[in-house]
């Protein structure tokens, strides 16, 4: 039963991705706070760096312990996939271990414990190295995923194995850079929302107000810029890649059932009706999708009717919803943060309570947008593990029975429930204690 293998991977990676999406973005914000402190000598910026370092540390720990199961599962649950493609994606995954995890973990301990021992300048540098390590990790994972989305630089040998033919092709893959930048800016949106959200909480609660204002200011500025960059140019760039390299997935995620001669409409709302092959309760704007994709109002975009069942993703509604949730939330972030940015510029932000509440309440949503974004990539790639080459059904471990997979899936579910509760408890405590408790 491949279902349990897929469910286990989907569940464990969704849970895992709660943590790195914060730490990647947050590491940059921490470096910014530390840099600002070194320049201005205002203690509050150092407080901010150290406060978010505590949040970072908890997230990092959980990122590590939930990340190792991802690497292991390639072998445990997807042995056939590992055997056939390990010679290629093993390169980028091994590089991740060597180039980013060592860097990140070696200097994280120094950053957390070492401020008094190593001095302020070195402390800044260790923070920067942690940031570098975490982004290198993102880059190499995206390089791995890019190969699965759009395989390059390989050849197929006897016994069906994929063998590396051109190493540098893995990094000049046209899928990689757009996906990497889109992912990193999205991660920065999450981190900015966390920083701004905690700030909004402090200001609204009338506690640690001065720190709260710094958090808000920083979070809103970084968040507004990065949420724009997520949409344009990186989001646009990715959509064009999907249209070009995975046209069947493009039709499915946009919800285009029928090809329209005079240009495709963009769907805003609607529910895929897989029986009648149409969208129920559709609200759409004509010709916009053609324009966005090809800068031509009448460009033809192949709908799902142009593809066979074998070419189309196997869960079209889930793909469609993931995509529309991601895009919808992204639009809301730009709107809200744009508003906040405007009032910050007019020096009124801290007095507009409704806006502060808005920032606070939206805090969980970038997580949802990031994870649904990954669902778009992964569901869109179906029914393949390696697009066009290796079917998902042909990638699982030949000797692991579904009873064993269900056993471990249930185990992970229980363990991650515990981890999730502990995580909320600890983060709640850190936020409740606030940055002021920091002894200087």
């Amino acid at each position: 039963m491949i279902f349990y293998d897929r469910l286990q991977f989907a569940f464990t990676i969704s849970f895992h991705y709660i943590f790195p999406q914060l730490t990647m973005g947050l590491s940059l914000l921490i470096v910014y706070f530390k840099w600002k402190f070194l320049r201005t000598k205002v203690d509050m910026y150092n407080d901010a760096a150290k406060f978010f370092m505590k949040i970072f540390a908890v997230n990092f720990t959980l990122g590590v312990v939930t990340g190792i199961p991802m690497e292991f599962q390639f072998g445990t649950n997807w042995a056939k996939f590992s055997e056939l493609t390990g010679g290629i994606i093993g390169q980028t995954l091994a590089m991740e271990g060597i180039f980013s995890f060592f860097l990140e973990s070696a200097f994280l301990a120094l950053f957390i414990f070492g401020e008094k021992i190593i001095g302020q300048k070195l402390h800044f540098i260790t923070g920067f190295l942690v940031f570098l390590g975490s982004w290198a990790s993102g880059y190499l994972i995206l390089a791995t995923n890019a190969w699965m989305q759009h395989p390059v630089g390989y050849e197929i040998v006897e016994n069906g194995k994929y063998v590396l033919k051109n190493f540098s092709a893995l990094f000049s893959n046209p899928w990689l850079i757009p996906a990497f930048l889109h992912n990193q800016f999205a991660s920065l949106v999450t981190a900015s929302f966390v920083v701004a959200g905690v700030g909004a909480f402090y200001v609204l609660r009338q506690k640690n107000i001065e720190h709260g204002k710094i958090f808000l200011k920083t979070g809103v500025v970084f968040g507004f810029i990065s949420s724009l960059l997520v949409a344009f140019p990186t989001g646009d760039w990715n959509a064009k890649n999907v249209a070009k390299y995975q046209p069947a997935s493009f039709a499915a995620m946009e919800g285009i059932f029928e090809t329209e001669e005079a240009g495709a409409e963009i769907i805003l709302v609607g529910q895929p009706n897989m029986v009648e092959k149409k969208l129920d309760n559709k609200i759409a704007v004509p010709n916009v999708l053609s324009f966005l994709t090809y800068q031509n109002w009448n460009a033809q975009i192949p709908g799902m009717d142009q593809f066979t069942k074998e070419e189309l993703p196997d869960n079209i509604p889930a793909l469609y919803y993931s995509y529309h949730i991601m895009v919808g939330l992204g639009t809301i972030f730009i709107g809200l943060l744009g508003l906040a940015f405007f009032f910050l510029w007019r020096k009124k932000l801290f007095d507009i309570k409704s806006l502060l509440w808005g920032i606070l309440l939206l805090l969980p949503f970038p997580y949802i947008a990031n994870i649904t974004g990954w669902y778009v990539a992964e569901l869109g790639r179906q029914p393949f593990l390696v697009y066009g080459l290796l079917k998902t059904t042909n990638g699982i471990s030949p000797t692991v029975s579904s009873g064993n997979t269900l056993f471990t899936l249930l185990g992970f579910a229980g363990l991650y429930l515990l981890l999730g509760l502990l995580f909320l408890l600890l983060i709640g405590k850190i936020i409740n204690d606030g940055p002021k408790l920091q002894k200087q």
Binding site: F72, A79, E83, G87, M95, F113, G114, T408
Partner: protein
Amino acid sequence: MELFWYITIAIVLSVFFVLDGYDFGTGIIHLFLAKKEKDKQVIAKAAGLFWDFNEVWLVAGGGLLFMAFPTYYASVFSGFYLPLIIVLWLTVFRAIGLEFRSQFKYQMWKDIWDKAFGISSLLLALFFGTALGNIIRGVNLGGVANGISIYEKHYFFLPLWNGSFSPLHENPGVIDWFTLIIGIIAVVTLAIHGANWILLKTNSSINTQLKSLIFKLNTALFILTIFSLIVWFIINPDALLNYAHKPYLIVFPFLYLMGLTGLFFIKRIKKDVHGFYLSSLLIIGGITSSLASMFPIILPSTNQVNESLTIYNTAASEYGLSVALGWGIIGMILVVVYLVVQKRLMAGKIDKMDYGEH
């Protein structure tokens, strides 16, 4: 090229067991000997400071194995499905035990995470030792029954145990009396190693007690080692043939022997770090001697139908292995630099240091 990556991965995994090994060992000592809160705190910190850095060696070793020997990775990880997933769960418990114990000041909270850290360390040591035992003993590759393979020739699946608990069974389980002995050896070895680490890094009140403990454990280890060798010889009479053919390999068991002998003089060793080096020799010697005895086999087949997995029949393409050599060397140099910088900046006993708030 296969040989180069085999040696590199063996080194990376040995470093993992030396570094994270002291964390496991510290956990074991913590579980049984640390009674006062001050000791518990400082010993947990001795393990907790670098556990994530240490664990990265496992991640890196896994990644390299995946890159260089994908067929082996696929075969072993799916074949040892259950024990590997259980190891993952235990590492989660160990990590959160270490990281979360000092987050709240309630004794109840600390107690539960101390236990999580200690018990998961103990079980991890046992499982890793058992894993080594499995690799030495071999598995029923291809799942042969009545002379016919039911899987592809390089795949297998092991239950946690079978009714007989015997390594001689046609379908041996993960746990049998041979692998269990190796597991216990791993626990004892890592307990010695952890005790040495505590001596090196702390001034805890149990330090004097630890030296005599190391002596006792070492005696036990000596007996267990001889016992396991005899058992191994019974299971596989050809076990030591490699040493007869290639006498220079004897250097690996010699390392083990040096560590074992040296630790009998633990009470006379003045510098704590020397004890730590000796127990590191035990670990490195133990792992490398096991690997050397099988070389170039990396997973023996227990049946006559399918051939054993070797570094040659499981490796990735020559081109891939050579390309990786380029970035691998750069990467390893960087890792050594980090290690030196880190140890330079954070040397000495940790209870004398002021690490500020955490």
